[in-house]
Assembly symmetry: C2
Homo-oligomer: 331 residues x 2
C-alpha cells in the first residue's frame, strides 16, 4: 500500500483536495501560501497554520526560545508574502510528559518575542500530551481583499525580485548537519540566519500598498522551489541573470569549494520574499521597499517559456526543483 | 527539574501566561474556551485550536475518517459553547512517513464530513512529517461581540443546564479500555458517542440569540471538570439536584454494579453544552432549544457558596474535580 513517504507533500495535498468542497468565493485559492475568508466590505480574514516538529524540524543547537520564536516567524512570513499584517498568533503545543517546565517557559518567551517584533499578540492556544515537542501555530490578520498578492499573477516580462541575497541558511545547514568548518568572524551571522530568522512583514505590506507586485510567496522551501511554485501558479518561466548571494555565503563556498549558486538556490528555512514586479513600476517598488529599510534585489525576469533558467558566467543552465520534501526526504 | 507531567495542563498554561502580554480589549479573556479579536462594528473574530495525537487521544477501534471528523467536532464545540457559527476549518496534519495514502484520504473525507455537517468549509492547512499522526485543527467564525457567552457570568440563583443526559462516553471508555461487556442492543449507541460525537452548534447559537444564558462551556473534559471551570470563572458554586443520565448508561451501570452518577460526572470526550440560565428566562431558553430540536436538561442551580455538590438519593455529597489531565495522567 503506498505511503505518504512515496508521494511527498504535494501528492498528499492533491489526494486530500479530491475530497474537499471548495468554499465559494475564496479570496485566495488552494495552493497559495495562506487561507482566507471574505468578511464583507472588501475585507478578508487571512490565516496561516504551520507545524514545527522537534525531531525533524529543529536544527542542532537551536534552543526552545528560538524554536518558539521561529514558529511565529514561519507563520507570519506567509502572511507577509501576501501583504498582510499579522494581528494575532495562536500556539497549539504538543509536549512529552518529561518536558521540563523551564523549557515550556522559554517557549512562552519565544512566542512573546516573536509576536512583539511584529506588533501583534498571542491570544491563546492549547496544550496536549505528544510523543515529541510539536509547535502548531496559527497566524491571523485582516486585510483589504484588493491588495492581497497571490502566487498567481506574474506575466512574461515582469521583473523577478527578492528582499535580500541568499545563501546563509544553506551554509548554516552545512555547518550544523555536515560539520563544515567556518571562520569565526562569519560563523555568527550565518548561524543567526537559522536560529533567528526574520519575517519580511513590513516589506510585504509595503509591496502590497505600492500596487506594483504581480505575484509573491516566501522562500521558506528554498529559492529554487519558490521559483517553481510561482511558475506553476502564474504559468510563466523565469530567467535568473543575477543571483544575489551574501558575502558570507561566497566566502563559505570558496573555503569549501562549493558552487555559491547552489547555496543560494537550494537552501530553505530563510523567509525572504520572492516576487514579480510590473516593469513599468519597478522604481515605485524600489522606493516603497527603501522606505522600510529594504534593498530590492533584481534577479531577472518572468518569461513566456516555462523553463527556469540560471545564467551564470555567461552560461545558461536549468535550475532544478530541488529542496527538502518533508516526507520523501528527497528533492 | 520539574516537568510538565508534574504540574499538569493548568500549571503549564499558568507558567506560560506569565510571559505573555495580553492584547488590549480582548473580547474573550484568557482561560475561556476560545480566543477572539475585535473586528470593529461590534464584531469579533473567534478562533479555537485543538490537537489530536493518535497514540494518546484516539480510542481503540476509531478509524481515520472518524478521527478527522472528531477533530472538526472538538474544535467546533468550543465555538458552539460561545454561541458562534463556525465558518471555516484549517487542518494542520503531522504524518509519519509510513502512513498509508488510503488513511490520508480517509482523513480528508472525515474533515469534509465534519465541516459539511455544520455548514462550513475546509479552506486549507499544512502537512508535515511527525513521529505520530497529529491532527491540529483550527475553527473560525465571526460573531457579534455582544452575544458571545463567556465562562464568566453565572450568578447565584441561575439555573444550571445541559443540552443532553450524560454517561455514554464514560460507558464507552469502560468497554474500549477496560474490556467491560455490554449487551449488543445498547453497544452501538454507547460506542457511537465516542466514535461519532456531535458538536452542539445550533444549540449554542440558539442560546446566544435568546439572551438567556449567563455562562457556558462544553463538557469535553467531563461534566465534573466543566462545573469546576464554570465555578472558578464565575465565582459561584453549584448544587446538582437532578443529574441527567442516559438510559443506556443506567443499564450499563446496573450490569456492572457501577454508580451511574459517576459515569455521568466523570466522563469526557462528549461535547454537550453546560450552561447557566437567568431564572426569569428559563422558559425562553427552553423554547429556544426546543426550536432546534434539543430538550433542555435542568440540573440544579448556581450557589453563592462555592462548593460543588450532588444531591443523590436525598444525600448531599461533594462532586470531585475528576477527569483526565493529559499530562499528569491523573485527576
Amino acid at each position: 500500500m503506498p505511503t505518504v513517504g512515496d508521494i511527498g507533500e504535494r501528492g498528499i495535498i492533491e489526494r486530500m483536495l479530491k475530497h474537499i468542497t471548495p468554499m465559494p468565493d475564496m479570496p485566495i485559492p488552494f495552493w497559495d501560501d495562506v487561507m482566507a475568508l471574505s468578511l464583507g466590505d472588501g475585507k478578508a480574514a487571512v490565516f496561516n497554520t504551520d507545524m514545527l516538529v522537534w525531531s525533524t524540524d529543529i536544527p542542532p543547537g537551536m534552543n526552545h526560545y528560538q524554536a518558539a520564536r521561529k514558529a511565529v516567524v514561519m507563520n507570519y512570513s506567509d502572511l507577509a508574502a501576501k501583504g498582510v499584517q499579522p494581528q494575532v498568533f495562536l500556539s497549539n503545543l504538543g509536549l512529552p510528559r518529561y518536558t521540563s517546565i523551564d523549557h515550556v517557559e522559554e517557549m512562552a518567551k519565544g512566542f512573546e518575542a516573536g509576536v512583539r517584533e511584529y506588533n501583534s499578540f498571542v491570544i491563546g492556544g492549547d496544550t496536549n500530551e505528544a510523543p515529541d515537542i510539536i509547535i502548531s501555530g496559527v497566524a491571523f490578520g485582516v486585510a483589504q481583499k484588493s491588495t492581497l498578492i497571490k502566487r498567481m499573477g506574474a506575466k512574461p516580462g515582469d521583473i523577478l525580485c527578492t528582499t535580500a541575497p541568499f545563501g546563509d541558511t544553506a551554509s548554516a545547514f552545512k555547518i550544523l548537519l555536515e560539520n563544515h568548518k567556518v571562520p569565526l568572524k562569519i560563523r555568527d551571522k550565518i548561524l543567526e540566519s537559522v536560529y533567528l530568522p526574520k519575517a519580511r512583514v513590513k516589506e510585504g505590506i509595503a509591496l502590497a500598498k505600492s500596487g506594483t507586485t504581480t505575484s509573491s510567496m516566501d522562500s521558506s522551501d528554498g529559492l529554487a522551489i519558490s521559483l517553481y511554485d510561482l511558475s506553476r501558479s502564474s504559468s510563466v518561466g523565469f530567467k535568473v541573470e543575477n543571483l544575489p548571494i551574501t558575502q558570507e555565503a561566497r566566502t563559505f563556498a570558496e573555503i569549501h569549494g562549493i558552487n555559491p549558486d547552489n547555496l543560494a538556490l537550494y537552501g530553505g528555512e530563510e523567509y525572504e520574499l520572492v516576487f514579480t514586479i510590473d516593469p513599468a513600476r519597478i522604481d515605485d517598488a524600489n522606493s516603497a521597499l527603501r522606505k522600510v529599510g529594504c534593498i530590492l534585489q533584481v534577479l531577472g525576469k518572468a518569461t513566456k517559456k516555462k523553463d527556469i533558467i540560471l545564467i551564470s558566467g555567461g552560461i545558461e543552465k536549468p535550475i532544478q526543483r530541488d529542496g527538502w520534501d518533508h516526507f520523501t526526504g528527497t528533492s
